[in-house]
Symmetry: none
Subunit: 409 residues, 2 copies
């Protein structure tokens, strides 16, 4: 049984919405590498009795407690006093810490306020953790069977201290080794509940494995883990078989598409109506995309679809701008005009206005043209304007991905 | 004495560093407007006994408990069961909620998995809170002297539910009134430290006022509050005087630009190189933009700048694609080709590759053409590829805003 970990963040600014908790995700991932998982996280304001209470609650249920914030010199900085009270250890002045603090101020030629002396007091028996990036030292305290760590609030100060001291101290104290194997990937083009049902069945067949799901930008992000490297490998094989081409592995969809384009030596042109530039924005977030992205258009108006992408005005009149035929013509036009190998197009109704009974808000047609073949996809997306744009862009990128996979074989 | 508030976030992905808590800051600010402050925040994974324990701990010390997450249809979604257990209320099937869920699936023509039926079970006596943006209803439960609210995890679903139901229910139950007056706005085109210094001076002159800053997408978001409505009005007047045209009030920069375009009856065309569609994506996030946005280009290559925007190839050879002259020619070309009143262009080096000593990563030229005049702006942005894109897009939108403000008078 692994030791539990409790994490506490302090700071009135967190409770008042003036700052956002910044360490949990980082700490969670670093602990995972040594086989530990966070059991609970809590936060409270800069109030002595509240911090003491949080430390006591955490220490009552976890042998490892990590607290961030409250190590500065001001009246609001109460971590030293709270730890002393919670663990029944008096505060003591530590001359060596005081020398280090003074030397730092001299080095940066900053005038030192008298209150900085507070930062040289620690609960008796604490091990001082030097701060390579700021004036506030942290500390580690083993008391009442609990390994307590007090770390600075700012991320640039906390992280080096965490890597250099917290991880090695934990590994030694609890004889840890890399014990959990995990892996992340994305499934595109299926609803969350469907992905969940299918993954649950697979995981149930493989003892020692577990999983979690999260929606991210129209794709379902999947996190699986196992107690043995071999079990994880087998489970990943199961997942690949189950989801086939809908399974895009650890990279983002846009990175996957960019990589496929580069590997196929295929250039691309993009024509967007309702997504309004989002497909292009996501593609151009990938460094090096300029080698394969020829150009892109945002053609909101019918006139612009006709003038830039050579979509026949009569076709728009007959079928409507939001139709499979116009999407198809846009994709072909984009590829032709740009002289690109791949053309991708999106046309739809992002809302909130512009919908009708026959063509409601959320109706989007996607098309991709590649090597003489054009395929289209019709979707009706739920959600507000931003969500429809996001989901339609994901669908368009996925359509490109699948076309490249099939035709590239 | 104000009632205490405890906030709980659930989700194994939070504990494993796969997601970041997203509601605390928003909830804190909204509660502040009705005079409430969060006393504690905690988070735990998707584990029934852990969630029950968190609810019990929170309910033991606060009469108001807000919990987010765990309302979906999957086996990870345990909030309904945990609340039932923590408050000793059996789960009951609610046909009306089930009808609403089914109607939603029918409307979007999504195949419904059997497990979605789980979402229609609630602890006895719960008041169902409709979800206008997703399939998962929330609920409110008054039990054992505690007002408990279960809210969906995704922010676009939680926020409307919070505004429409949680705030009014709390105001009624605890006879609250609006005790703090607050206001938010953005300053564009100044560094954070400069904005901070100037606002600090103004706030110091007005007793009972305070402020907070946050960087968001290249603009500085400012939050000011006061203990009296009158003090807030006076402070806002001070801020307007201090920042003049750099002050854009409560709306986003893209909304401000869209509104100015509509009011001036000016159409716009956009030509992007290094921002790769982000200016267009941000503009098209504003509903109704189709009335004024003619079209847009992402012209990554030199050939595309020449062919689409009529930029003279000799100019590109002479000055380089990343230059004030080419930005100017792109803006003019975009306006001319599209027949739009305003043309805006961005060309630069987003990185990580492509930089040189003379033209380093982060160098961006912006240009806007309006009523026969073209103005340009050269900026050197710090940060990675995404940050450079974000800041350059903000600068381009702000350039359009200022051109419209000046020429529209």
């Amino acid at each position: 049984m692994k030791p539990r970990v409790a994490v506490i963040a302090t700071g009135t600014e967190l409770m008042r919405g003036r700052a956002v908790e910044a360490h949990l995700a980082y700490v969670a991932r670093r602990l995972e590498a040594i086989g530990l998982e966070i059991d609970r996280h809590s936060a409270c304001g800069d109030d002595l009795s509240r911090i003491v209470e949080e430390i006591r609650t955490a220490a009552a249920r976890a042998p490892i407690v990590l607290l961030s914030g409250g190590l500065g010199p001001t009246q609001d900085d109460l971590t030293r006093a709270a730890a002393a009270q919670a663990f029944g250890r008096p505060l003591e002045f530590r001359p060596s810490a005081w020398r280090t603090i003074r030397a730092r101020f001299r080095r940066f030629r900053v005038p030192m306020a008298r209150i900085n002396r507070r930062q040289a007091f620690f609960p008796r028996g604490a091990r001082i953790l030097p701060n390579s990036r700021g004036s506030a030292p942290g500390f580690a305290l083993v008391a009442k069977g609990v390994h307590f760590f007090a770390l600075p609030g700012p991320a640039p100060e906390l992280r080096p201290m965490f890597e250099r001291f917290v991880i090695p101290l934990l590994v030694r104290a609890f004889r840890l080794r890399r014990s959990t194997w995990w892996w992340e990937g994305c499934v595109v083009g299926l609803p969350e509940a469907t992905v969940d049902e299918r993954v649950r069945t697979l995981v149930a067949r493989r003892p020692g494995t577990s999983y979690g799901l999260a929606l991210s930008g129209g794709t379902v992000a999947l996190h699986v883990q196992a107690d043995k490297a071999r079990s994880l490998r087998i489970l990943i094989g199961d997942l690949e078989k189950e989801f086939g081409a809908r399974w895009i592995g650890t990279r983002s969809l846009e990175e996957t598409v960019a990589d496929l384009l580069v590997r196929r030596r295929a250039t691309i042109a993009v024509a967007e109506s309702c997504t309004g530039g989002l497909v292009l924005h996501r593609l151009t977030s990938v460094p090096g995309i300029s080698d394969v992205l020829r150009e892109g258009w945002v053609t909101y108006s019918n006139a612009s679809k006709a003038a830039r992408l050579r979509v026949a005005p009569s076709l728009i009149r007959r079928r409507g701008a939001v139709s499979a035929d116009v999407a198809r013509a846009m994709a072909r036009g984009a590829a032709d005009v740009a002289g690109a190998d791949v053309g991708v197009a999106v046309t739809g109704i992002a809302g909130p206005g512009g919908g009708s009974k026959k063509k409601p808000v959320g109706l989007v047609y996607h098309a991709v043209h590649y090597r003489g073949r054009t395929r289209t996809e019709r979707r009706l997306f739920p959600g507000n304007r931003d969500q429809v744009k996001e989901r339609a862009a994901t669908c368009a990128l996925d359509l490109v991905r699948r076309a490249l996979l099939e035709r590239g074989r």
